[in-house]
Amino acid sequence: MRPLLRRRSGCYIYRSSPQSLPRIMFSFASITICSSSSYTMSSPPTNRRIHIIEEIISTEQTFVSTLETLIELFLRPIEAQNILPGDEKVSLFGDVVEVYKVASSMLRSMRRVPASELNVGSVIDESMERLKTYASFCAITVDLQSRVSSLQKRFPSFSSFLEDRKQLSQCKNAELQDFLICPMQRLTRYPLLLRKLIEVTPTQHDDYYHLQRAMDGVQFICTMANSILARTSHSNNMNRVHSLFEKKDAETIDLLSNPTRCFILEGDCMVYKKGKQVNVRLFLFDDILVMGKRKDVNYRLYKKITLLYVKSHSSGNSSQMRKEIVSRTGSVPTTDNPKHIISDGPIFVKGSPSFQITTEQEHSLELLTTRFTIEKLYFTTKEEKNRWHNVLRRATEIHSPKEVRKRGNSRERKVNNLPTQNAMRPLRPIKKPESESETAKCESDSPASSHSNDSPILSRGKDRIDAERQQRLNGLEAQLKTSRASERALKTSGEMLQSRVDGLEKLVEALKTQISTMEEELEMLRSTIGGSSPATASAESLSRVIDMNEEAVYYILLFRDMKGGEL
């Protein structure tokens, strides 16, 4: 009999067979329990607990059999038939056998006792060290798609092998790539499952403590995997763009010199050079825009543009824009603004309406350069143009790149403190719940930390409580440490911003002095003109005549227009 409907009051409607009318039964247990608890708790927590535990076991089972499929249907035949050379095989499959061993041993422990008696928390907690394999395994998902396809091109036997596998019913329409991201998928599901389980586990439950530890642990591993991936893909991207350019040009661009540089976007566009159309590829980073012209397999540097923020003129036109650039580049010594030395040419002007001239036929963006030439980029579609406009504008906005970098930095810093390369270093001793070692809180804002704050209320021996308090204390201390580290990171980025602000203030000062000298000049000119010499008088009368003429012309034009309208 399956409950069809559950009510808040704990009233269940059961239907014993499809034909019979629904009968209404009351579940007394849930009435007593849910009287003051939330909706999610309204079903007996033990039932929900068992449901979730069963879900964990069943999904673990599916995961293990998926890995079996991956190993039996892909890895073993490739090894047996020597389809791929050893190093390529390793880089493609990583340590999948180890992942399989971990998962299957966890599954075996889960099956040892019935679900109602199983302490999932302890099982996962005990395997925590070995679970770190998952994180390092995740690194193979970087550029997986392109790597598989390049392997397919290089090794025709591999390609035909994969084609052959597609036909197998066990693969369920999944390809090798899909199998390979499975451990990552599984890893990110653990926090979801454990969170649900913790919600329905009473604090005095034997497993509660282990569940918390398991939760912290898997979240930490997820974060670790995430940062491993982020770093791998970041350096891959940098190296890729670097190697795309010819050696000499790559040195000019000097991509890799700036460790905090972030890759943002790449895409194609067209420019016109001396009336000739040139196809260029754009590589946008958070501080530079590199334009490359295709030559054979590589690119030649067409232009490297340093992004610079120029205040947008809401009603501005190009001449106003020019004035601003004259004043800025003219009045500010280049040493004060090193960007100009590097840029040696174009700067991007944040989009004022006049700088996104687009007709229906052409989709172009204009970059104003310090040489007063306009670099016009033509895109194939409006969408593409808008996208680049948005991205470029964001990249040039003064704070955003810094903020991105700051975040990246602090994350990186955090990771650097943690064992990533030697991922097997113990995060904390296992099987020693009372240990006073550090509980590395991977994320202080995670829901887990809020859980860990309401510690078990009921006593399970004074020692245990004391030990837990000590541990919480240690955890808090670790949190404090990370907070301090992030404070330091914030400070340094604050200083960077401050220095930028200082630079800008200098600029403003320079502009002010320029304005005042101009005003003085103007005054001088006015005073010389202000004299009552016959020349000025005649000039005045002349200008009056000119004004009158202009007025006359205006009326004549107006009159003509009106006439035209009548006609």
Binding site: R2, P3, L5, R6, R48, I50, H51, I52, E54, E55, I57, S58, T59, Q61, T62, F63, T66, E68, T69, L73, R111, A115, T141, V142, D143, L144, Q145, S146, Q167, L168, S169, Q170, K172, N173, A174, Q177, D178, F179, I181, C182, M184, T188, R189, P191, L192, L193, C222, T223, A225, N226, S227, L229, A230, S233, L265, E266, G267, E384, N386, R387
Partner: protein, 210 residues
């Protein structure tokens, strides 16, 4: 594949036989299925709790688990459909759990044909993050077909997001207007329609590209 189920298997978290020892010695039978269908990979993106798994389940199994909702759905589900008389296998991927780990999700975007951005029409935040997801995550938007799915349309009275003028700007930037819909995973409103439409749009797009 993960919890991959073909459409005939219904995921039952509480199925009792799962507790029995599985037959590990089971050898793989290599029977070749001759059907060569077009495969469409669809990924569901969105905040946690917007109902990605439920949508998937509603579409493939016509089920909504109000009684006991499994915490995680299947990693992906497949469904065989006919789109414009072309047999298509839809492979729908759930990204639950990866919302907070941006780099982890990237593996999905490569090789996917379509990306369904799911938001909860009762949560403005989920709508906003859909926009940022699209902008921040996908590096090469032209390889994808984007659709927007506003879920939980059954809860009408608290609707916050559904103002067409707010939805419009997002649609302008590369989302397929015609296949973006408001759906309900709970009662199934427009779900099948939305996914079929999404498949058709993706196919048409692929045809255009090729």
């Amino acid at each position: 594949m993960g919890c991959g189920n073909s459409q005939e298997e219904v995921p039952k978290a509480s199925a009792p036989n799962l507790l029995e020892k599985a037959d590990y010695s089971e050898s793989y039978i290599r029977n070749k299925s001759v059907i060569n269908r077009k495969l469409l990979k669809v990924i569901l993106l969105g905040d946690s709790g917007v109902g990605k798994s439920s949508l998937m389940n509603q579409y493939v199994h016509q089920q909504f688990a109000a009684e006991y909702k499994a915490t995680i759905g299947a990693d992906f589900l497949t469904k065989h459909v006919m789109i414009d008389n072309v047999p298509v296998t839809m492979q729908i991927w759930d990204t639950a759990g990866q919302e907070r780990f941006q780099s982890l999700g990237v593996a999905f975007y490569r090789g996917a044909d379509c990306c369904a951005l799911v938001f909860d029409i009762n949560s403005e935040k989920s709508f906003d993050s859909v926009t940022s997801w699209k902008e921040a995550q996908i590096q090469n938007p032209h390889d994808f077909c984007f659709v927007l799915l506003g879920n939980k349309v059954d809860i009408e009275n608290q609707r916050q997001v559904l103002k067409i003028q707010r939805v419009n700007p997002l649609m302008m930037s590369g989302v397929q207007k015609e296949s973006s819909q408001l759906v309900s995973a709970k009662n199934g409103t427009c779900v099948v329609d939305a996914f079929d439409c999404l498949a058709a749009t993706t196919l048409n797009r692929d045809d255009l590209v090729s």
